[in-house]
Amino acid sequence: MSGKLAERDVVNDRESPDSPGLAAPRLSVVRQYLNAQSDSAGSDGFFKTLMLASALTIFAIVLFIFLELAWQSRMAIAHFGISFLYRSAWNPVSGDFGARPFIYGTLVSSLLALLIAVPLSVSTAVFITEMCPIPLRRSLSFLTELLAAIPSVVYGLWALVVLVPLLRTGINPFLMRTLGWTGFFEGPDYGVSMLAAGIILAIMILPIISSITREVMSTVPQSQREAALALGATRWEMIRISVLPNARLGIAGGVILGLGRALGETMAVTMVIGNRPEIARSLLAPGYTMASVLANEFTEATTNLYLSALIEIGLVLFLVTIVVNALARLLIWSVTRGASSRMA
């Protein structure tokens, strides 16, 4: 490069031998400055190392949590073996422990929350981005996001004071009358129940799913909307054939984040789920989740085995979260890879 530069300067000299000040090859101020700069390879390398270290820290933290949980629960693991995962016993007095009702409670309450929250939050996002009058748009999206800022204990209190009585006096009797035959809505009605936990979880994850959905829907190019409109699509058809399909990956990402929050949510669930380690078909019966049993009983764990079993619950929660997330991602990947051959 410097050779080429020198050559050009020589040519310049020959072309204007009489010009004053051009006797020696002279570079412009900008060229002089830029030529004097190093190739910055050193700072690039430093930056790369820094980023790598940050990324590795995440791995290290996850690994460390896993190892610590496994180590602290070694007594329970040795005592119950794999049967811990499917045994239903939970008897601190006789020292008999199993995680099944808690795994069941965590999965069912989260699933219930998704069933309620996904349609609701996607519809909310569709309304806000596509149909809402512009002046109302900002305040409405602010309100949905405000839901995310409320502490979970406040949700729990609200659920206990408002939602549970409402379920007991109004909604549950109705569900028992109309859907009692399915077996999902029967038995004594305490109010505190799996259903109450699912509903409060749904309200809590709604803002996450809704705001992510809104975000990705607003990035769908205008040209895609116009393509549908120009074909004579109504507004709803336009949303169905161009907005939702283009946003589906982002929506799925939002659902996974919501699911993550639902699986790990502790306080609000503990306050309304009833905290009884039993598996019942009826959603009106009380249940228990892994996070709730940890929060409730950790300080009361009197024996080493009891404590160890609780920590193993934590380990199982950790693994269940990872497995459910992986499954959700796998599901999305298998649905969305390549072109869909169907009309979306």
Binding site: Q224, E226, A227, A230, L231, A339
Partner: protein, 252 residues
């Protein structure tokens, strides 16, 4: 078969900007009409007023009358009905990326509840043949996504999609401006062959393109239609000084 377009007293605004002023224009049926003019002169806004796409922007406003055939599109019907009779091709190819090539072409008919599979197969093939794309995609119709083909192919796919609903008018807003010369030539060829069956209105920045494909040409400047005449007249002997300045490259 195409129908003519009659435009009277058309005015359009974006917010407070008056983008089209008092446009009077009769576009002949089954011919290609080109609209030329410098950037921002209102020619795109004009075609978007012909299928009521202009009003999809919340700050946009239109007054005046536009008749497509016998239909007064701003007073007689809903925009959805009008857009089902008018095909539109945009500047940037916009196939639906989540649909296959086949589904892209079929999308307009399916929107209208058309379910006859055999007829659909035939229409998809005929539309792709008309858009000169059939031979290039016939083996991957259902396998490839509408977005997985090249830009020039995507634009022809969009033309096929517009043709599949058998429109009476085909609007093209700078359909070749994002394409390379070979794809551009294919699109022009296409317009040349389609214009005996459809009323085509094409907005273009490329004056040679207008001269090659269109019988009639309109020149827009600052939101006004300066001159509208036979293409040969516009390019050889324009009656307005501004048109002459523009086509000889003195401004714009």
């Amino acid at each position: 078969m195409g129908v003519g377009i009659e435009v009277k007293d058309l005015n359009a605004w974006y917010g407070s900007t008056h983008t089209l002023r008092d446009i009077h224009l009769n576009i002949p049926a089954n011919h290609a009409t080109a609209l030329i003019g410098p950037s921002g002169c209102g020619k795109s806004t004009f075609v978007r007023c012909l299928n009521r796409m202009h009003e999809t922007n919340p700050i946009a406003r239109v007054t005046g009358t536009v008749k497509i055939g016998d239909l007064d599109i701003y007073n007689d019907v809903s925009p959805v009905v009008i857009r089902r009779r008018i095909g539109m091709v945009f500047q940037r190819p916009n196939p639906f990326p989540t649909m296959s090539i086949y589904d892209n072409v079929a999308s307009g008919l399916r929107l209208n509840g058309f379910r006859n599979r055999q007829a659909l197969d035939e229409i998809v093939e005929r539309s792709l043949r008309r858009a000169a794309l059939w031979d290039e995609v016939k083996d991957d119709l259902r396998r490839k996504s509408g977005a997985s083909i090249s830009g020039g192919q995507q634009q022809r796919l969009c033309i096929a999609r517009a043709l599949a609903v058998d429109p009476e008018v085909l609007l093209m807003d700078e359909p070749a401006s994002a394409l390379d010369p070979i794809s551009t030539a294919k699109i022009e060829d296409l317009i040349f062959h389609l214009k005996s069956e459809y009323t085509i209105v094409i907005v273009t920045h490329n004056m040679q393109q207008a001269a090659r494909v269109a019988e009639k040409t309109g020149f827009f400047l600052n939101g006004q239609l300066v001159e509208f005449d036979a293409t040969t007249k516009i390019f050889t002997n324009p009656s307005d000084k501004r048109t002459e300045d523009y086509i000889t490259g003195r401004f714009g």
